[in-house]
Symmetry: C2
Amino acid sequence: MSELSARSGVAIPTIKYYLREGLLHQGEQVAATRAEYDASHLRRLSLIRALVEVGRLPIAAVKKVVAAIEDESLPFHNMLGTAHHALTPPVEPEPTPEWEAAKAEVDALISDLGWQVSPTAPSRDELTQTMMRMRRLGMGDDMRAYAETAERLVREVELDAIPLSDDRDAAVQALVLGTILYGRALESLRRLAQESESARRFTAAREERDS
Amino acid sequence: MSELSARSGVAIPTIKYYLREGLLHQGEQVAATRAEYDASHLRRLSLIRALVEVGRLPIAAVKKVVAAIEDESLPFHNMLGTAHHALTPPVEPEPTPEWEAAKAEVDALISDLGWQVSPTAPSRDELTQTMMRMRRLGMGDDMRAYAETAERLVREVELDAIPLSDDRDAAVQALVLGTILYGRALESLRRLAQESESARRFTAAREERDS
């Protein structure tokens, strides 16, 4: 176990905790005080760290993801879906006509785009909440340009990062890290582009007006 | 004040707190126990709520944004920049060669794109941290497609939402709400597109393999 800890960079008490919680499978007991761990243990520890440290998932959610990986009868796409849904904190739908109107818009957008998305995907409610807020604030809420952009990035870059192999741990880890890190990078780039466009647009406009 | 509270939806003790903190300007005192508030007070309360509730800014950051709005000698673009920088939590640069390499890549990307971004913009460090993590994990970190996408959305949609008027409160509020809400919508749409693309790609691939 001390070797597993050294190689994975995960502290021994943490490894013991993951073993107790059933997140990590037991090693092969080769002596009373010695168990052997292999590459599958390293892969699992790497996945758990990605889920906890980068994905900031609570242990209960990590358990669900690990259960989906270990249930070999669950198809690949559904296993990824379990991980994916765990990454999106649930949003409570509101029983108001305003919510229903925004939800209908979200459902129509997804259906117009021909996207295959489960009716219970938590991102549907998340997007409904955001669009309802935009409407309330009088902001434009035509999301088609954003949806097409998202589709292109996902098709051309993000999904290619997921290995279609029998290593289910590696596939889930690639999905989780890709979702989060490309998302963060895109958010930083939007802010940088906004600053630049504001400089271009407002500095020029003001100079013209003031001249 | 009770009328201001009713119209703005902000509780009286909260309004009093904003007055004490100097975030909201005093009303005109028309009698010993009565002050008059006008449209400028309603606009400011609306802005403060957007910064606190949607932007989740701490009061210290809200103070900086309000000071930039009230300093009429500060050009429009720089006032927006103050609000914009306040939205990005600072990331501590690491004194490592790995950090320096990622930072150089970020700076080169921004310069290749011809973007006008302040050398101290906090999103530079934020993006550096994400790209360093991606490199460590062996993920592709070519951000050009993401940068060009961000630029297009910002030019064609997001910056148009900012009114170029003398109402500095309204401009800052539009920037903050646009940055955050379009960002959230894009994040939800990426996850929905991922689910759909995963269904398209992995369901088909598995069926082929298993047939």
